[in-house]
C-alpha cells in the first residue's frame, strides 16, 4: 500500500518513514513554531516543509452519491490518498465535478466517506469541529448578524465571554481590513468584502486547519487578485495548514506550497506538483510573469487539461 502510494506520488518517496510514524503517535508531534512559513521559500524551504509532521492524512477515500430514485449511485471519489503537512498550503485543482468539494466536505467533517480513513493528527475525523475553519464560495454569512457578530459566531460556539469575543473578532476584522464596516450587515457589503468577513470568521476561533472551497470563485477578476494577495499575507501571518480548492491554476500556483491535481470523476489524486518558488510572492507585481512561475503553471496545466478533456467527453457522451 505504502509502496504503491510512494510510486504514484514521487513527493512521498522522500518522506522518511520515521516521521510519519511520529506524526501518528499523537498531537505532540504537530507543533510548528508560528512564523516558520514566512521563511519557507525556495528549495531549502521545500525540504524543511517535507520534514514537518503530517496534519491531515487521507487514505483510500471513497464516496458515491445516490442519484434520484432509480437507485443508481455515481462514484464521486475513488480512492483518494493525500497527506497534508502541518503549516502547509495545499491547493486542490481538478476538472469540475471531480469531487474536490466533496473531499473538502469530508475533511471538514460535514459529510462522511463511504470507506477509507481520514485522520487529523492521527485521530479519525468524527464530525465537524473548531479545529478546522471552513470558507465557502457562497460566503455563508448570517444575514441577520453584523460583520462583528458574524466573526464572533465561532467564538460563541467556543463559549468565550462577550468581551473577549469582541476583542478577538475586532483583531481578525482588522486583519482583513474591514474595521470601518464592523456594524454593517452582509447585504450592505460587496462580494469581496463578504468573503473577507468569512475568512476573518474562519480564522477567529484560531483553527489549526483552514479549509477553503473555491473561496474566490464568485468574485470579479480584480477583487479576486486583491484577495489572493491578502491571502498570501494571511498565510505568512498565521501559518495555518490550508486546504484550498480552486478552479484557477494560476491561483493554485501563486498561493500554495504544493498543488494536488485530481482526475476527472470519479476523482483520485493524479499528481502532486511541488511549488518551490523563491521571492516574495505577495509584494512583487511581476511575480506571475517570472519564468519559474510560468513553468510551474504550465506543469499543473498539463496534468489538468487531459482530465478536463476526459471530463468534457464524458459529459457529451451522455
Amino acid at each position: 500500500m505504502t509502496a504503491r502510494l510512494a510510486a504514484r506520488h514521487s513527493v512521498f518517496s522522500s518522506i522518511p518513514g520515521g516521521l510519519i510514524a511520529e506524526s501518528e503517535s499523537g498531537p505532540t508531534a504537530r507543533s510548528v513554531e508560528p512564523g516558520s512559513a514566512v521563511e519557507a521559500v525556495g528549495e531549502a524551504a521545500a525540504q524543511e516543509a517535507s520534514l514537518r509532521p503530517v496534519k491531515i492524512r487521507a487514505r483510500n477515500i471513497r464516496k458515491a452519491f445516490e442519484v434520484g430514485s432509480a437507485g443508481g449511485a455515481v462514484p464521486a471519489l475513488e480512492g483518494v490518498d493525500l497527506d497534508i503537512r502541518s503549516g502547509e498550503f495545499l491547493a486542490l485543482v481538478g476538472p469540475s465535478g471531480c469531487g474536490k468539494s466533496t473531499f473538502l466536505d469530508i475533511v471538514a467533517g460535514l459529510s462522511r466517506a463511504d470507506s477509507g480513513s481520514l485522520d487529523i493528527e492521527g485521530r479519525p475525523v468524527q464530525g465537524p469541529g473548531l479545529d478546522r475553519g471552513v470558507v465557502f464560495q457562497g460566503y455563508a454569512l448570517f444575514p441577520w448578524r453584523t460583520v462583528l457578530e458574524n466573526v464572533e459566531f465561532g467564538l460563541e460556539a467556543q463559549g468565550l465571554p462577550k468581551g473577549r469575543r469582541r476583542e478577538i473578532a475586532r483583531e481578525h476584522i482588522r486583519l482583513v481590513g474591514l474595521e470601518a464596516f464592523e456594524e454593517r450587515h452582509p447585504h450592505q457589503l460587496s462580494g469581496g468584502m463578504r468573503q473577507r468577513v468569512a475568512i476573518a470568521r474562519a480564522l477567529a476561533h484560531d483553527p489549526e486547519i483552514l479549509l477553503m472551497d473555491e473561496p474566490f470563485g464568485a468574485l470579479d477578476a480584480q477583487t479576486r487578485e486583491r484577495l489572493q494577495l491578502e491571502m498570501l499575507k494571511i498565510k505568512q501571518k498565521t501559518a495555518k495548514t490550508v486546504l484550498f480548492v480552486t478552479h484557477s491554476i494560476e491561483e493554485a500556483v501563486l498561493l500554495s506550497d504544493r498543488v494536488a491535481v485530481m482526475t476527472s470523476r470519479p476523482g483520485t489524486i493524479k499528481t502532486i506538483v511541488d511549488i518551490s518558488l523563491g521571492g516574495d510572492r505577495g509584494s512583487d507585481p511581476e511575480f506571475r510573469t517570472q519564468a519559474a512561475f510560468v513553468a510551474l503553471r504550465h506543469r499543473v496545466w498539463e496534468a489538468l487539461h487531459d482530465e478536463v478533456d476526459k471530463a468534457l467527453s464524458k459529459e457529451y457522451s451522455r
Binding site: A108, G109, L110, G127, P128, G129, L130, R132, G133, V134, F136, G138, A140, F142, P143, W144, R145, T146, F153, G154, E156, A157, H185, H187, H205
Partner: protein, 258 residues
C-alpha cells in the same frame, strides 16, 4: 431640506387616500349619489367619533378585539411551535402534509356550523373559528420558513461544531423569522376578516353584529362607521406587526408599514 422631503413623502403616501375621501365627501353633497345610501364621509366620521367616545361602538370594538385577539393568541401558541417542529422534521412533515392540505382547503366558514354544534353559539365557537382560520397561514409559513433556510448557512454553522439545539436557536430561528412574520400578518388579517363574518352569523355584540344589525335597521351612518372602524383596526394591526417585524428583522430591507 430633509423636512421638505419628509413632508413630501407623507403627501405622496396619503394623497390617494385623501383623494378617495374627498370624492366620498363630494359625491353625496353634490347630489350625484343618494345621501340616504352614501352619507358624506364627514357625517360618518362624526357619527364614528360620537359613538366611540360616548356611545356603544367602543364596547363592540372591545368585544371584537377580545375575540380576535384570543383566537389569534391561541393560533400563535399552537401553530408556531408546531410549525417549527414540522419544518425541523421533514419526514414527519411529509407524513402529515396531505392531511394538512385537506384541512387547509376546507373553508373555516364551512366548518362554522360544526363549531356551533359542538361549542354552542356563544364565545367559544367564535374564538374557535378565528383560531382555526388564523393558524393556517401561521403554520404553513413557519414550516416553509424553517424548510427553506439556506442550506449553506446550516452547513457553515455545522462546520463550526454547532449541535442541533444551538443550530436551531442561532440559525434556524432567526433565518425563518421573516417568513414567520409573513404568516403572522396574514393570520392577523384573517382574524379580523373572520370575526366580522362570525359575528354576523349569530351574535348580539361585536362589530360584525353592529354591521349586519345596522343594515337591517337601515341605519347607514352606523353601518359605514362600523366599516371604517374595521378598516382602521386592520391598518392598526398591520402597523403594529410591521413595526415589530422591522425591529426584529432590522437586518434586512424594511417592510412597508402602510
Amino acid at each position: 431640506m430633509s423636512l421638505i422631503r419628509e413632508v413630501q413623502a407623507v403627501l405622496v403616501k396619503t394623497a390617494a387616500v385623501a383623494l378617495f375621501l374627498a370624492v366620498w365627501e363630494a359625491l353625496p353633497r353634490l347630489g350625484w349619489v343618494d345621501r340616504s345610501f352614501v352619507p358624506p364621509f364627514s357625517e360618518v366620521a362624526a357619527y364614528l367619533w360620537r359613538s366611540l367616545i360616548g356611545g356603544d361602538l367602543s364596547r363592540h370594538l372591545a368585544v371584537s378585539l377580545g375575540r380576535s385577539g384570543l383566537g389569534f393568541g391561541l393560533a400563535l401558541l399552537v401553530a408556531l411551535p408546531l410549525g417549527f417542529v414540522l419544518g425541523w422534521f421533514p419526514a414527519f412533515e411529509r407524513f402529515v402534509d396531505p392531511l394538512l392540505q385537506v384541512f387547509r382547503q376546507t373553508s373555516a366558514f364551512a366548518l362554522f356550523p360544526l363549531f356551533i354544534l359542538f361549542l354552542g353559539i356563544g364565545e367559544k365557537s367564535k374564538v374557535a373559528i378565528i383560531f382555526y382560520g388564523a393558524q393556517w397561514p401561521l403554520l404553513l409559513n413557519t414550516i416553509s420558513g424553517v424548510k427553506n433556510v439556506d442550506p449553506l448557512l446550516v452547513k457553515s454553522a455545522r462546520s463550526m461544531g454547532l449541535g442541533r439545539f444551538a443550530l436551531f436557536r442561532k440559525v434556524i430561528l432567526p433565518a425563518a423569522l421573516p417568513q414567520v412574520f409573513t404568516g403572522l400578518r396574514l393570520a392577523a388579517t384573517l382574524a379580523i376578516l373572520i370575526i366580522v363574518a362570525a359575528e354576523s352569523l349569530g351574535a348580539s355584540s361585536g362589530l360584525g353584529y353592529v354591521l349586519t344589525n345596522a343594515q337591517y335597521n337601515f341605519d347607514l351612518p352606523r353601518m359605514y362607521a362600523a366599516i371604517v372602524l374595521l378598516a382602521l383596526v386592520g391598518l392598526a394591526t398591520n402597523f403594529i406587526l410591521v413595526t415589530l417585524e422591522n425591529r426584529l428583522t432590522g437586518w434586512k430591507p424594511q417592510a412597508v408599514r402602510f
